[in-house]
Every structure is written in structure tokens, then in C-alpha cells.
């Protein structure tokens, strides 16, 4: 079920749908989830969860040699009235409630942070302005933990913006009370030398709605692990992602939706464009529909657009179904090339090469960008995509 799908750029992945009595999503990990880094062996690179990641570029986050420095990252939270922002110690009971680390670096982050940040939107509070969290790398190494908690029927938009240069291992917990609505946008707009690894856990309350938008542009290596679990029935998760992987960059998004409760929905849509030698994008989409999760409706999709030779995509959707009593389940993965014939066709209509590439890339992302529903974020994404294209031609 977790068979290798190493495909060259330009190929299409079929993925797998498994009907299993027992989940392999969990058992194929090298160790059970734990908050303690000592419970995980140091990865050697052939493990299922590490086989796509260049360990030598993790700057020691995976083997215990990375040590926090004082000048790691500067975190600033800008929150509208009614929101509580706290810095808390390791013993705060709200930490770690949304999920347990599933790999060594997530556990390392959890074991190593000194203070955590907790942002709370009280019940029935509906924010009209976003909460903005700026994580600015200052060249050092850091471990962090962020909690965002929404009380029942609260509604909020949170934008987490990563910029600068850092080696960062940090987890984020999203706790959604019953009927709460949270949209979170995590932007990885790092400098080219940054390394960022993290696990994002969402625990979705009864009838709550979680929308996650993960946007990755920069960094030498970015490896994020967004995970969703349902606390009760009726929850809905939309996980959108967009990445632009440039020469030499490794950008890895590993998603897991655990349909552990009945009548919940999930919709995963990630799109990426790649260009340049050694650009490597990895997308893992795991969805598990447990026996109890009757009435589940889930779909996951990954599309990649390879703009130049020398880029590589690994896209592995994996759907496991333990009950037949579901509303719907499906997945799709495709990797296409912007090929010379497309370029010729557009140029033969008078369109200059750079304009032709821009047209195709913008078109590729447009539908997804529109789904984000935050005009200033959309504007910034379009500008960023344009700039990336501009710089490469």
C-alpha cells in the first residue's frame, strides 16, 4: 500500500486505494507517535516517512545535533481586540492536545521548545480582522510551538507568515470548538537558505469548519506535515496548498486526514509549479477512513506543473477505507509539463516567451488562488508567482 512511486518529472501517479482491516498509514511509520524525541530512532533515510527527504540538508534537526541559538526567530503576534495572546511554559495543559508528533523532528521540536505561544479566540467571538503571526528568521536555529484555539462558534482568520533565514522545527496546534470556523494561511516565504520542518495538527470540533492554506515559496528545505483529526461528527476540513519550487529547493508537504468520526468531510487540493535544476517537490496525501467514520465524504488532489527540465516531483496519494458506508472518497494526482509545443503555440500567436509562461502558470494556479478567499493574500501570491517567473527568465 505504501509502494514506492518514484516518478520522473512529467509522469502521472496513480496512487492507491486500499480497503484494509487495519490501518497501514500508522504502522508504516518507523515509531508510534510520541512527544519524546528519544522514542524515535535517528532516521537513516530509507524509512517510508524519510525516503524523499535529503537528510544532509536538515542541518541536524533529525539527529539531535541542532541546538537552539538565541537569535533563531522573532515571533510577533498582531491580534484584534477580543483575542488573548499568551506566552506559556511547557507545562501548559493546552499544549499538544491537537495531535502527537509522528516523526522525529516533530518530537524534537516538542522536546526542545522553551516557551510556547497560545492565541485564543473566545467562544462566539467573530473576528472581522485577521490575526497575524509573523515568524521572522534571524539566521539562527529555533524550536517552537504555537497553539491557536477557537472556542465554540468562534470565527477567525489567522495568517502565519514565515520570512528571513532560520533553521526552524516548530509545530502548530489548531483547536476548533464546536461550530467554530478557522481559516489559517501559513506562508513559507523564506530566504533560499532556510530550513523549516513542522507538524500542523488540527482537531476539529462538532460541526466545525477548518480551512488551511499552505503556501510555500522559499527555503532550502521545507517539510510540513498538516494533519487533521475530528473530535466529533459533522466537522469539515479544506486543505489547500500552493508551492513554487525553484532550482535546488526541496519542498515537501505530507498530509494526513484521519476520518475517525462519522459524517465528516475533507477536501484536499495542492498545486505546485517547479522550475530549475534540482527543484524537488514531494506531496504525500494520506486519507484514512476508519470503521467508525460512516458517511465520510473526502477528496484529495495534487497537480504539478513542471516548467523546465531537471525538476522532480514525487506525488503519492493514499486512501484507506475501513468502512463501505461512506458518501464519497476519491483522489487524483497528475504531473504535467509545460512543453515546447505549448510554448510554440502561444508564441506563434505573437505572445512573447515570458508572457506565455506567465499565462500558463497563472492559469494553473488561478482556480486554487480564488478558493483562498482572502484578497490581500491572493494579491500577494500572484505578485510572488510573477516575481519568481520574472527572475528565472
Amino acid at each position: 500500500m505504501a509502494e514506492a512511486q518514484n516518478l520522473p518529472a512529467g509522469s502521472t501517479t496513480a496512487g492507491s486505494i486500499a480497503v484494509a482491516a487495519e490501518s497501514t498509514v500508522a504502522t508504516r511509520m518507523s515509531a508510534p507517535p510520541s512527544f519524546d524525541v528519544a522514542d524515535f530512532p535517528v532516521p537513516h533515510g530509507r524509512e517510508e516517512e524519510w525516503r524523499f527527504t535529503p537528510l544532509e540538508r536538515l542541518r541536524g534537526l533529525h539527529d539531535g545535533t541542532a541546538v537552539a541559538t538565541g537569535d533563531g526567530v522573532r515571533v510577533e503576534v498582531e491580534a484584534p481586540e477580543g483575542v488573548t495572546v499568551e506566552t506559556v511554559g511547557r507545562d501548559d495543559e493546552r499544549l499538544g492536545k491537537a495531535g502527537t508528533p509522528v516523526d522525529r523532528i516533530a518530537a524534537q521540536a516538542y522536546s526542545a521548545f522553551e516557551k510556547a505561544s497560545v492565541v485564543t479566540v473566545p467562544k462566539e467571538t467573530v473576528l472581522t480582522e485577521p490575526v497575524r503571526i509573523s515568524v521572522h528568521g534571524q539566521g539562527g536555529t529555533a524550536f517552537g510551538h504555537q497553539v491557536i484555539e477557537l472556542g465554540a462558534f468562534a470565527e477567525a482568520v489567522v495568517v502565519i507568515d514565515h520570512t528571513g533565514d532560520a533553521v526552524l522545527a516548530a509545530n502548530v496546534d489548531y483547536l476548533l470548538g464546536d461550530g467554530a470556523k478557522l481559516t489559517v494561511v501559513s506562508i513559507q516565504d523564506w530566504d533560499d537558505s532556510a530550513v523549516h520542518v513542522g507538524q500542523h495538527n488540527a482537531l476539529i470540533g462538532r460541526d466545525a469548519h477548518f480551512k488551511s492554506v499552505v503556501v510555500t515559496f522559499g527555503g532550502d528545505l521545507v517539510r510540513l506535515h498538516p494533519r487533521v483529526t475530528y473530535a466529533a461528527t459533522g466537522g469539515e476540513a479544506e486543505l489547500f496548498g500552493l508551492y513554487f519550487t525553484e532550482q535546488g529547493q526541496h519542498q515537501e508537504h505530507r498530509l494526513f486526514v484521519d476520518h475517525n468520526a462519522p459524517h465528516c468531510k475533507s477536501n484536499v487540493a495542492y498545486k505546485g509549479a517547479l522550475q530549475g535544476d534540482g527543484a524537488h517537490a514531494v506531496w504525500i496525501g494520506d486519507v484514512l477512513i476508519r470503521a467508525a467514520a460512516e458517511g465520510t465524504d473526502t477528496y484529495e488532489m495534487n497537480r504539478n506543473l513542471v516548467l523546465t527540465d531537471g525538476a522532480r516531483v514525487d506525488s503519492v496519494p493514499n486512501l484507506e477505507i475501513e468502512t463501505g458506508e461512506i458518501a464519497g472518497a476519491g483522489h487524483a494526482s497528475a504531473t504535467g509539463r509545460f512543453d515546447d509545443e505549448q510554448l510554440f503555440y502561444l508564441m506563434a500567436r505573437g505572445i512573447p516567451e515570458i508572457e506565455a509562461r506567465r499565462l500558463v502558470v497563472r492559469g494553473f494556479f488561478a482556480e486554487l488562488v480564488q478558493q483562498i478567499g482572502l484578497p490581500d493574500v491572493e494579491e500577494r501570491l500572484i505578485t510572488k508567482i510573477e516575481a519568481e517567473l520574472e527572475a528565472s527568465l
Binding site: 503555440y345 505573437g350 505572445i351 492559469g363
Partner: protein, 263 residues
């Protein structure tokens, strides 16, 4: 008056690690307002001529010249050729996922005209052009050539021809794969553009059928990489009755099937 002059054009392609010459000295002059039918058997190099003029990177010009009003076409990039006034209606138009027809047309018209067409008049212009080609308005929201039927692709090519108003239009087997109704609609589109008197047309075809709808001024028989006979419309009648046999006798055609390699 715009004039396209092709002189002693030789073109090769790389195939199986060998260089193969496909065009072996083509001479042709096409003036604005004229319609030239280029007819020939499969593999004679007709499509190679079309794609070479448009600047497809697969083809290497080994000798000869192509000028448009004295300007060296061969020195221009693909998009420069289009902006200079060359238009190639392709036999196999390419799918461009994620790019809508309306966005594509507007970007193209902006590039060709040198400025963005005014939105209000542009919308009207496109709508009317689509109506004339019996194209549903929803067509504009579809992605370029994605999932188009053969007939829809050809109509889309002619729609571009009408909107971009080139000086020289090269229609590469625009008739192939069309049923009679579609052929008539597409031909009417070509004729509307021709009636302006401002376009020189190179109509590349295997069959004489399209010539019942689009009347050429000149007919050229293409065989083994060059024009072997030129005449008036009566030459098409001769081909209709006798086929290409008299031009291809004497062994296999050099450069056979080269056209099929494109697309």
C-alpha cells in the same frame, strides 16, 4: 502591399541521430490579396514548409531566404514572426491547460496589435466572430484546445485568424478531419478574411474538397520537398481527376511521412 518571398528554402530535421533534408529548394511568392493552394501527397513536406515559416524549433533551415516585405523572417523568433504578420493555422492545435480561450485571445490580440484592445469593443468583437463561426459563447471559458473536438479546434484556429488579421495566413490542412458542415463554416471564415483583400493566403491541403469553398488564384503541386508544378485553378481540377500519381512516380517519395512527425 505585403509580400512573402520564399527563395530556395532548404530545411532539415534531426531524426534517429541522422539529419534528413525535407525541403529541397522551395520558391514561392505570396502577395497580400492572393490565395495560393499548396497541394501534395502525404509526406511531401507541405507541413514542414508551414512550420518552418512559423519558426518551429524542430526544423533547421540549411539554406535559402524568407522575407516579409523585405524583412528577414528567418532571423525572427516565433513571436516576432507572428507580430510581423505571419499566422499559422495548425493542423494539430496544442492544448494549453489552465488558460481560457478568452484570456488567450486577448493576450494574443494585445501582443499582435501592440496595445490591449478596449474591453467593451473587444468583447463585442469576439462575440460576433464566434457567432459567425457557430461557436457557443461558453467556448470562451474553456481552456485552450482542451477537450475540443477536431471541428472545434479548427474553428478556434479560424477565430484567431479573424481576430488577429495577419498579412500572410498559412492554413495547414485546416480541412482535414472536418465534416461537410464544419468545412463550410470554416471555409466561410477564411473567405471573410480573404474578402478584406488584406491577407495573402497559403492553403495547404491534401484534398481538392476545400477548393470548392475557397477558390485559389494559384495552385502549386508539392512533391518530394519542392514545388513541381504551378498553375491556375484548373490545375486543381486536374489533380481532382488524376490524383498525385504522375508527380510521385519513380520510387518512394523522399521525406515520406515527415509531416506526421509534427504535432
Amino acid at each position: 502591399m505585403a509580400t512573402l518571398e520564399i527563395r530556395d528554402l532548404h530545411v532539415s530535421v534531426e531524426a534517429d541521430n541522422a539529419t534528413k533534408e525535407i525541403l529541397k529548394g522551395v520558391d514561392l511568392t505570396v502577395k497580400q490579396g492572393e490565395t495560393h493552394a499548396i497541394m501534395g501527397p502525404n509526406g511531401s513536406g507541405k507541413s514542414t514548409l508551414a512550420y518552418s515559416l512559423a519558426g518551429h524549433p524542430k526544423y533547421t533551415i540549411t539554406s535559402g531566404t524568407v522575407t516579409l516585405d523585405g524583412e528577414d523572417v528567418l532571423a525572427m523568433s516565433v513571436d516576432e514572426r507572428a507580430r510581423a504578420g505571419l499566422f499559422l493555422a495548425m493542423q494539430y492545435p496544442v492544448e494549453v491547460p489552465g488558460v481560457s480561450v478568452s484570456n488567450f485571445l486577448r493576450t494574443s490580440a494585445t501582443a499582435i496589435r501592440g496595445e490591449a484592445p478596449k474591453l467593451r469593443t473587444w468583447v463585442k468583437e469576439v462575440k460576433e466572430a464566434m457567432e459567425r463561426l457557430n461557436m457557443d459563447p461558453s467556448f470562451a471559458e474553456r481552456n485552450v484546445n482542451e477537450g475540443f473536438s477536431g471541428g472545434e479546434k479548427k474553428r478556434h484556429e479560424i477565430l484567431q485568424l479573424e481576430l488577429l488579421k495577419p498579412k500572410i495566413a498559412i492554413l495547414d490542412e485546416t480541412d482535414s478531419g472536418l465534416d461537410v458542415d464544419a468545412l463550410r463554416i470554416v471555409s466561410e471564415g477564411v473567405n471573410r478574411v480573404r474578402e478584406s483583400g488584406e491577407v495573402g493566403t497559403m492553403l495547404i491541403t491534401h484534398y481538392t474538397r476545400i477548393l470548392r469553398y475557397i477558390k485559389p488564384d494559384h495552385v502549386h503541386v508539392f512533391s518530394a520537398g519542392r514545388i513541381v508544378e504551378s498553375g491556375g485553378p484548373e490545375l486543381a481540377d486536374k489533380l481532382e481527376n488524376e490524383g498525385y500519381e504522375s508527380y510521385t512516380k519513380g520510387g518512394p517519395v523522399s521525406g515520406a511521412n515527415s509531416e506526421e512527425d509534427v504535432a
